[in-house]
Amino acid sequence: MSQEFWSPHLETLSRVQLEMVELARFRELLAFARSHCALYREKLSDIDPRSINSREDLKAIPLTTKEDLRAFQEIGPHPYGGILAVDMAKVTTFRQTSGTTGRPVYVPETYESWQWRVEVWCHILYMAGFRERHRVFLPFGYNVYVAFWEAHYAAEKLGCEVVPGGALDTRGRIQKIQEVKANAMMCTPTYGLHMAEEAKAMGVDPKELGLERILCAGEPMPEATRKMLEGAYGCEVFDHIGGTEVCGWAGMCSEKKGLHVVEPFFLVEILDPNDPLREVSVGETGLAVVTPLGRESFSAIRFNTNDLVVKGPESCSCGRTSQKILEVVGRADDLRKIRGVLFSFKSMEELLRAEFPEIGEYEIVVSRPGAMDHVVLRAEPVAELGKGKAAELAQSLSTRIKVKTNLTFQVDIVPRGTSPDIR
């Protein structure tokens, strides 16, 4: 049996077999959700699960949006309302979304569905090379957001030794990594970069922390950022994509060219944002619509994650046959029009990480003092700049931003430590 795959038989199924398994599970989920969940009793009242026999047939099923979840959460027993599909007594795990786009959604899991999520994460971690020999440090807050909770339990299940790094500040975490000789870590890309900067400020070369691999989560990670982290820590860095409502649903293999959907745990469609009845082709950008196929507690059927991704091929030199995502472009709601121009915050991250390594943390502030949007980029240098260098850097940044985005930004190079603290 191959040592490269957590589930060799599943990860090398043919496309025909994958589709067959996923559609069968989808029908079962549909039938279950219609009879157990108020949201889907209403949304799917006209749909006969037996009519879903191909991916084409999925179009008949309306997408589930975050607004649907918010609305139905208010109807019925607190706190989950009409999105819960099991008896409340079976719920063992509470998590919630961050609430950055509106009221938080409370996500219930039974013991079984939570373990299902953990099993998905076993696939993600194993794909990223996590093994029993790893002592994995998790520098996250261990709070109501799902964050790295699943990853923690999955790492334990794989046989890794997990060191929880909550309730420590960044310096404390760096010291703990050194003290226990952790050789793997999981963090957000932003925090990983911040930690590397903090280590240098402590006189510690992040490369000498001894980390062999890092898995990132929590925010889109452009390739330039991933390479920057690899350079900073001298180790391999892997990405993944997920959401509180649907779980982590795609991970990165050793080829590091995009992400593999963890099939057949999910049925994933990548739809044209302008025509949601059309699945995009390879190389095209679309909205990721995800159906977790093994959860009873909370059925998210054709859930619109609002993540824009570039569809990849259905093969990889690693041998996995699952659908790939070539790139995570960003959140559809992160794209906004500034002075009539469509702007992606992720493109700013890409530009800064690829071309301005002297910039550490930054923030972008968009305001409208008058009739037009005004954009300010406040950027901190990673090291003190010499006289006159700040102005030079600001000019250079401003020029590149204009070329890249067709927008004029006010660029302020601010002293280190000015930006909001990152955790």
Binding site: H9, L10, T12, V16, Q17, M20, R25
Partner: protein, 66 residues
């Protein structure tokens, strides 16, 4: 070992777990741990789906674990 054999083992284990849950009605620790076993058996179910394609003809090879 083939997927078919694995699925048969899992079904047998599910039967045992359900019987244990029933037997342990008066013992919460045994009952709960048996329920946990059943939860993992359902995940094992998920990991060993039927993968024989109806029209392509099936063989033991197609259902085998590499």
């Amino acid at each position: 070992m083939s997927l078919l054999e694995m699925r048969e083992e899992i079904e047998e284990m599910k039967g045992s777990a359900l019987r244990l849950i029933d037997l342990a009605r008066g013992c919460p620790s045994v009952r709960r741990n048996a329920e946990v076993i059943l939860a993992f058996l359902r995940i094992l179910d998920f990991l060993t789906p039927v993968t024989e394609v109806p029209d392509g003809g099936s063989s033991e090879d197609k259902d085998s674990v590499p």
